[in-house]
């Protein structure tokens, strides 16, 4: 597979591991947060930790839109899907995310709700067109990578004059989340989370470009290296970050130049700007309310907004008190630190979203990496 296999070459991997081992200052330690869930998944799946020297640590960040969706939004979607006239269309990732009291979209479907998994937003529009008596709602979720496809779906629905298509909008923004983390007491004052630099998201950056990260590099003096998802991309990105830290630089660098340009994808940005506007504030699991971090449809397109059409109320629901998803998303704790990890909470019986989403830190650790944990007391 071209542009894939070259970046998975095992021989190069060993050389890169050696290069990284040579580049680090043995007296120092390095903490890099990989913001994006796609990186979390790749790091676990390829066992990249095994290739890094002991003084390089990767901290998982909140860049998993499924993981950061608050319980209340899942409850709201389940309530919506329970309406007999509603067909809820969703990406597969959301099907098993726990809502309150052990509910989920999967259990709602088992109880009779019309919930259908789609691969693409266009599939949802097609369903709306084919079934005019159904109120088709698309559960829109994702960072900047996934927002343009939602915008195009609305454009398509508008073109076709569909009056039975709406979206339940949960799109969120990367820079706002990065800022929230960097400004959090955990990082700024308490030193509970040490971050020396960021591995910047790959495909979010194809849309927003690398320019938006300059702010963080300057304001917080943290280097940002945008890296692709293939394992060699991650290793090269880590090497570039190590060099910056050693040199005392805090710049934005682009390892993923083959797909990411400095200004990103203008067309995609324009589509998003046409249909969406910033919410003043949006709740993130683990981060609380983050200002200007979420999107909603503009008034002009209110007809396509499920929240307005169905008068959906804000449901505030809390996580299981023992669930450490919040702390894990902020990088304060690791999956193995959570009391529920591996006992009550497993991918088959998830308590929190970090365990459901394939790129959640807990799911990634459980699925690929838990063999590295010390043996826990036999249960």
């Amino acid at each position: 597979m071209k542009y894939i296999d070259e970046y998975r070459d095992a021989k190069l991997a060993r050389s890169m591991a050696a290069a990284i081992a040579r580049a680090v200052d043995p007296a120092a330690s390095y903490y890099f947060m990989e913001f994006c869930g796609g990186h979390t998944h790749a790091i676990s799946r390829y066992g990249i930790e095994d290739l890094l020297p002991g003084n390089v640590h990767l901290v998982h960040g909140p860049g998993c839109p499924v993981c950061v969706l608050p319980v209340g939004r899942i409850d709201a979607a389940i309530r919506l899907a329970a309406r007999p006239e509603v067909t809820l269309c969703t990406y597969g990732d959301l099907m098993r995310v726990p809502g309150s009291k052990g509910t989920s979209l999967v259990s709602a479907r088992a109880a009779g709700a019309d919930i259908r998994m789609v691969y693409s937003t266009h599939d949802a529009v097609r369903i709306a067109e084919a079934e005019p008596s159904r109120q088709v709602v698309f559960f829109a979720i994702g960072f900047e990578t996934t927002t343009p496809p939602t915008a195009l779906a609305i454009r398509l629905a508008a073109q076709k004059g569909l009056d039975n298509f709406t979206i339940f909008c949960n799109h969120v923004l990367t820079p706002a989340a990065i800022q929230n983390i960097l400004e959090s007491p955990d990082v700024r004052e308490l030193g509970r989370v040490r971050i020396d630099g960021f591995i910047g998201p790959a495909h979010v950056s194809t849309v927003i470009g690398t320019d938006p990260y300059a702010f963080f590099a300057e304001e917080f003096a943290k280097p940002v290296v945008v890296a692709g998802f293939e394992p060699l991309d991650v290793l090269l990105g880590v090497l570039m970050l190590i060099r910056q830290v050693n040199d005392g630089r805090a710049e934005v660098e682009n390892e993923y130049g083959r797909a990411v340009r400095p200004d990103g994808n203008e067309r995609a940005k324009a589509e998003v700007a046409e249909f969406f506007e910033l919410r003043k504030s949006f709740e993130w699991r683990g981060l609380g309310f983050v200002p200007y971090s979420g999107l909603r449809l503009k008034e002009k397109y209110a007809a396509f907004d499920a929240e307005r059409r169905f008068g959906m109320e804000e449901i505030s629901a809390s996580d299981n008190p023992a669930c450490e998803c919040g702390a894990i998303l902020r990088g304060v704790k690791k999956p193995a630190d959570c009391k529920l990890f591996g006992t009550v909470c497993t991918p088959d019986t998830p308590m929190g979203s970090c365990m459901v989403s394939a790129e959640g830190a807990c799911a990634a650790h459980w699925t690929y990496g838990r063999f590295r944990d010390e043996v826990r007391e036999a249960s």
């Binding site: 597979m1 894939i4 998975r8 095992a10 991997a13 060993r14 591991a17 869930g37 796609g38 998944h41 676990s44 799946r45 390829y46 066992g47 990249i48 930790e49 095994d50 290739l51 998993c64 839109p65 499924v66 990406y91 597969g92 990732d93 099907m95 098993r96 999967v106 259908r116 998994m117 789609v118 691969y119 599939d123 996934t146 394992p231 497993t346 991918p347 088959d348 989403s357 394939a358 790129e359 459980w366 699925t367 690929y368 990496g369 838990r370 063999f371 043996v375």
Partner: protein
């Protein structure tokens, strides 16, 4: 005086199943005779009884039962009919037994096209003849429209195992080798490519095949060294190895570079965000073999058409935590775990 009996022929081309086909009367008898018996034809069915009789062979009898509810019914490389034959034969064969006979029960939804039913029955007949394992008895029921997904097929297979053979999921021991008979993930990808909401085009066809002759060759080559065999269907290779690890109380260590995956399967999995290790197979087996028998068994497999791409992919180790671990092609380590829930194409 001769009385001519007239019987209108089944309208295969345009007809549909209706409730009378399950009612026990003439319509049902005609369906069974003209459609099922014609396609599956053998001496037992020609007798037209509700049961089939045969002499019991010496040795241990092996019996298995299976249900087929696949959707879509027709996929590249097979259909629910051929799949039912192959799957049932394989379950018997995994116990080391020679499959002898099959039974098949059909639950058909009202409105199901006769042309499709005939196609399925003929496919079943062809698969059964090619494998040398006849379907000697069956049953037919019809349920109202909306109460069945086209057709469900339920089977039973019986066979006889050679004396002294004791294959079991508990028998894997540290040092044993793990052999897979060929490329993984073919069936699941072929079926998914026909799922409406995931449509992608591919030349990958299902690997659905009867493995009993491959198994016979393996038994002849190194029977004493075989610990257990299993066909990794739902849940894929990952599920099977984890089951064996749990039952035997051991761990597995695999080499990703040794696991055969066709490029088209790898690509389809990339597009859908799936791991080939979790994807179903219907014509492959995993064998755990004592170290001194591994090479002989492998050679016997590679000499057989269904085992050309057989490979040793790892070994059994002592592991109290019963992990199935894999060294990635990349050099790092990762767990190969059960899939949780239903297999959903990942977007993230």
């Amino acid at each position: 005086m001769s009385v001519k009996t007239y019987r209108r022929k089944l309208d295969i081309a345009n007809g549909h199943i209706d409730l009378s086909h399950g009612a026990g009367g003439r319509a049902m008898a005609q369906l069974i005779a003209d459609l099922f018996h014609t396609a599956l034809d053998n001496a037992w069915l020609r007798q037209g009884n509700d049961q089939a009789a045969f002499d019991v062979a010496g040795g241990r009898m092996v019996m298995t039962t299976d249900g087929y509810v696949i959707s879509p019914l027709f996929f590249p490389g097979g259909d629910i009919g051929s799949l039912a034959v192959h799957g049932t034969i394989n379950d018997v064969a995994m116990g080391g037994a020679k499959p002898l006979y099959l039974s098949a029960s059909f639950i058909i939804e009202e409105g199901f096209p006769l042309a499709d039913l005939k196609r399925i029955a003929e496919s079943m007949g062809a698969a059964s003849r090619a494998a040398g394992v006849p379907v000697i008895t069956g049953d037919t029921k019809v349920v109202e429209r909306g109460k069945g997904d086209g057709v469900f097929i339920s089977t039973t297979g019986i066979g006889v195992a050679p004396g002294g053979l004791d294959l079991s999921a508990e028998k894997a021991r540290p040092g044993d080798r793990v052999i897979v008979s060929g490329s993984i993930g073919d069936h699941g990808v072929a079926v998914m490519s026909r799922r409406q909401n995931l449509s992608f085009d591919t030349e990958i066809v299902s690997d659905s095949a009867p493995l009993h002759e491959l198994v016979a060759a393996m038994l002849e080559a190194g029977g004493a060294g075989l610990r257990v065999m299993r066909d990794p269907t739902r849940g894929g290779l990952a599920a099977t190895l984890n089951e064996l690890a749990q039952r035997s109380g051991v761990g597995f260590r695999l080499e990703e570079a040794m696991v055969p995956v066709k490029p088209g399967v790898a690509a389809a999995c990339e597009l859908l965000g799936l791991d080939p290790l979790n994807v179903a197979n219907e014509g492959k087996l995993v064998a755990v073999v004592a170290p001194d028998a591994a090479d002989t068994v492998l050679a016997a497999m590679r000499a057989h058409p269904l085992g050309r791409a057989a490979a040793i992919i790892g070994e059994v180790v002592a592991d109290a935590r019963r992990f199935v671990l894999m060294r990635t092609e990349f050099g790092g380590g990762r767990i190969v775990d059960w899939l949780s829930g239903e297999q959903l194409p990942r977007i993230c």
